[in-house]
Symmetry: C2
Subunit: 279 residues, 2 copies
């Protein structure tokens, strides 16, 4: 489907396509690395533009891919010097890498957290993990209720990381979200894409957690670096949600990866720069 890529670029792209656990922040980093590999291998601007269209189409719900590609397109159009472009891209990568930490700081600085608190989350978000890391070094006693996150079990992956950090956690099946929300003080999730109307595209099941939180008046926060905000898509209905094949006990099971949490169910979206409060 894609033209012949330089080997390193192809390896990066394949790792992006096969990635099932790590979220959109990870894909954003990989995407910058992909373009760096293309430019280092002297791929022509015309080919880079063509490839960028392909890669954006491969990840329709992942706003960072759109934003990174858009950013790179502007750089290659405006700057002639390959070394300058590469320098700018490496700075951009550093910016992306540090954004989740800043987002966690914005949360800690602005959201009142009791000294004993039960968090709840769904799937795996590196920004959310960053928040838990920071909190674990503070004088806060907290535990995390997390979902196993079928079918790829991102929750088990998160649990392993929490265990390494010595953070108390409890894993539940996805179906128990509505039960366990009663024990939670606050929900934090990541996002793959924030639409212009502030709908949140995230791992399927996030909407169910938002509904549950809403029903029991538990605040529902989304950690989303600015590069996850889609500049064009207005609301979730405009998106074609990615799907992967899944077979359970010999039967085909639908496996749409993402769902849409309408803005009105979101208490606030936190970025590395600000807090976006839906109306």
């Amino acid at each position: 489907m894609l033209l012949k890529l330089p080997q390193r670029a192809e390896e990066i792209l394949n790792s992006m396509i096969s990635e099932k656990i790590k979220g959109a922040s990870y894909l954003a980093e990989k995407c910058v690395e992909f373009y760096i590999a293309l430019i280092e291998e002297n791929i022509s601007n015309k080919e880079i533009v063509r490839l960028s269209n392909e890669i954006v189409r491969l990840f329709p719900t992942v706003a960072p891919i759109y934003n990174v590609s858009d950013h790179v397109m502007k750089l290659v159009r405006e700057i002639d010097d390959k070394d300058v472009i590469l320098k700018r891209l490496k700075d951009y990568l550093t910016e992306i890498q540090s954004a989740k930490s800043k987002t966690a700081e914005i949360f800690i600085k602005n959201i009142e957290i009791p000294s004993e608190v039960v968090f709840m989350t769904h799937s795996y978000s590196s920004a959310v993990l960053e928040l838990f890391k920071k909190l674990s070094s503070m004088d806060i006693s907290f535990e995390v209720i997390l979902t196993e996150s079928r079918p790829d079990f991102e929750g088990i992956h998160l649990a392993n990381e929490l265990e390494d950090l010595g953070i108390k956690y409890e894993i539940i099946t996805d179906a128990q979200m509505g039960l366990m929300i009663k024990r939670a003080d606050v929900v934090v999730v990541g996002a793959d894409c924030i639409t212009r109307r502030l709908d949140v595209i995230n791992k399927a099941g996030t909407f169910l957690l938002a509904l549950s939180a809403n029903y029991y008046s538990v605040p529902f926060y989304v950690l989303a670096e600015r590069f996850k905000f889609h500049p064009i898509i207005n609301h979730g209905e405009e998106l074609e949600l990615m799907e992967r094949e899944l077979t359970v006990q010999g039967k085909a099971v639908r496996n749409i990866l993402f769902d849409v949490t309408p803005s009105r169910l979101v208490t606030a979206i936190l970025t590395e720069r600000d807090i976006v409060k839906p109306l």
Copy 2:
């Protein structure tokens, strides 16, 4: 924990305890058979009363166990003749067995069903399956969206039955309930227990489906034979919900079997006799 039981009664009890797929209607039948076995083996009334307390405690959320036990206690207290008791119990068993079919009939007679309709359900309910069976012999074109129902995969079991009946179906992961509800015209689920305030105790995840249906204004019907109505428990919060052990990729995962769907999220409860409409 229990006293030594006659072999057949013990077999029946073990099959009830180990049953993971079939719902509360099945347990109701098995429970009557359990008491029939006790009486046939000349177990004393005193021992039967003791056993009934034990078995009710084993299945705290399953109203039919409470109701069947209560019914049997009255029979053994009021009637001296073993053969009369057995005759009455066998009639009672027939009544229980036919109730789900009558419940399906009440649904078909009273709920307006378009000639093309998409149903959605969660877990496995023999009353719901009975409804689909009846509809498949009528001039109605329908399909069923069903959840895989982690961790015991009752949905895969239901899918096998639908396949045998030639009914079109689509299986989704539990986490996609909030996505797929948009395609559904009507939700039908079973119940393990209906409280006095008409809260619905059913497989964990039912509450999430009810929240989703409510959000998108999809009617949410519960099929529950009268013996599923608990005469004492007022609302779901009074119940201790059963839990089983579960390990996923070496990690302990909470596995509470049931959740509570508050009455106000229920459009109507259909029984073999009537339609109960929450206020």
